[in-house]
């Protein structure tokens, strides 16, 4: 934990407080519109799908599907030491999509990973410091 050298996000407590607080307890929280019943990501105080301000937070399944990926051979700061690594967008089971660094796949074999687009992925949590936990995703099938 003390040696976490990659960028540590500074969560916005006003628009995304429950997201960042949830992560500290290893919970994956998402905002959902009470009026149209759709989840969205990144978190906002109004629904980007219908414009409502009636937003509630819920604990999501922490499951999703691999939508697309790239293998980063060139990176900066702490990530430079980990290159090549796989970045991926995950289609969240509850709807919408997020970026992550994908675990459980071999960055030297992108052609193999191409065949796994659509595969089930699960969230896992890494404590970067006492105040911030970052969600990462792992391909599980």
């Amino acid at each position: 934990m003390a040696d976490y050298k990659k960028p540590i996000p500074d969560g916005d407590p006003y628009e995304a407080g429950p997201y960042w607080e949830g992560l500290k307890q290893n919970k994956f929280m998402l905002p959902r519109c009470v009026d149209c019943n759709r989840a969205h990501f990144y978190p906002r105080i109004l629904c980007p799908l219908c414009g409502s301000r009636n937003i509630e937070w819920f604990e999501a399944s922490g499951e999703g599907y691999l939508h697309t990926f790239a293998v980063q051979h060139r990176a900066f700061g702490g990530w430079a030491e980990e290159a090549p690594f796989i970045t991926a967008f995950i289609d969240l089971k509850e709807g919408d999509r997020m970026l992550t660094v994908l675990r459980g796949a071999d960055p030297t074999k992108p052609e193999e990973l191409m065949k796994k687009i659509g595969s089930l992925c699960k969230v896992e949590f890494e404590k970067a410091n006492d105040n911030v936990t970052i969600p990462f995703w792992r391909i599980v099938d």
Partner: protein, 403 residues
Amino acid sequence: MPSNPSMAAAIVGAAESDKIGYIEEGVTNATLHAQAIHNVCDQVGIKIQDIEGVFAPGVASQLAEYLGLQPKFIDTTSVGGCSYQMAVHHALAAINAGIIDIALISHGESGYSARKNQGKGRGGGGGADPWSPGAQYETPYGTSGAPSNYSHAMTRHMHRYGSTKEDFAQIAVTTRDWATLNPRAVMHSRETHPAGGPITVQDVLDSRVISWPLNLLDCCLVTDHGGAVIIASAERARSFKTKPVWIAGAAETQDHSIMTEMRDFSQTSAHISARAAYKMAGMGPSEMELAMLYDSFTITAAITAEMVGLTKLGEGPSLWEGGKAGPGGSGIPVNTNGGGLSFSHSGMYGMMLLAEAYRQLSGTAEDGVHGIPGKQTNAKTAVVNGTGGVLSVTSTLVLVADD
């Protein structure tokens, strides 16, 4: 003929964020914008989705994304406190032109809270604000810079349509062929650059991987570049020593601001801006004789070819296949300056697209400085498409030569 914009538009509502003044619990710019916009829409009796033009000094694209909008008019002109009056002027012009009927002008500035929050929450693009969506939800995962983002779209294109790295490499090869006819192109020849001159598909595939599936030669240059154009009224356009090139169609929209919000990784919003530009011009893609397509990466040009209707969906690279889009090729010429891939790309390539489109349609593409024999095409019409951000914002022009 354009009409006097006087009385062409009116302000129909005005509201504030829920709280203003000294908000002791703290607030961000995003929240202040969102509350004020929600409140003014309630007051006027419209939905946020009814807004057609977003005029928000400095943050129009980010704000449109936050609101989930794909506006027809995006104006982020930011020149200080008077920007909001200027936004009224710009909205008046857009409404008078018949492009939009409903414009949003928005302001959100946490001047007091930002002091207590060490400046955080004040918005701005590029992830400079730690509380911006990019800084919170993308930077922690090690993507930085355009290639690390665009590669995800190329993977999705390959997955969805079965396109290959070889297909995309052909775009770089053909574009390089155009650069060999442009003495000012960085990659014109071995004289202009050690790696200049013609290249092969194998050269592209053998170049080092930057962000798989993007190799170095799939990526644009990073150069220094200055450019400018002059636009004049129809009344004045033929009174100069140069030839006019007419703006027959113009349109814009966006899909997102940051990659996380991209709705479909295998398309950009150019299908919307192109359709609107063609409609304004009263012309279609089959009538285009030149295409200037933003080629920050081979994937950008390929997707754009599909979006502006020059190929079917999924077949973008076929436009370049076998050098068809190159000098003397059998297809529509594309990126005749050598593109961002081989001519020059300083970061915002749109001006280079515009300058070359003007040269081609005014018959000045072979002046010895900007082109040698073989570069000038016979094109009388052109589709010009710019792509900004991370496949985010698009603008399409349909230009027509003077006759």
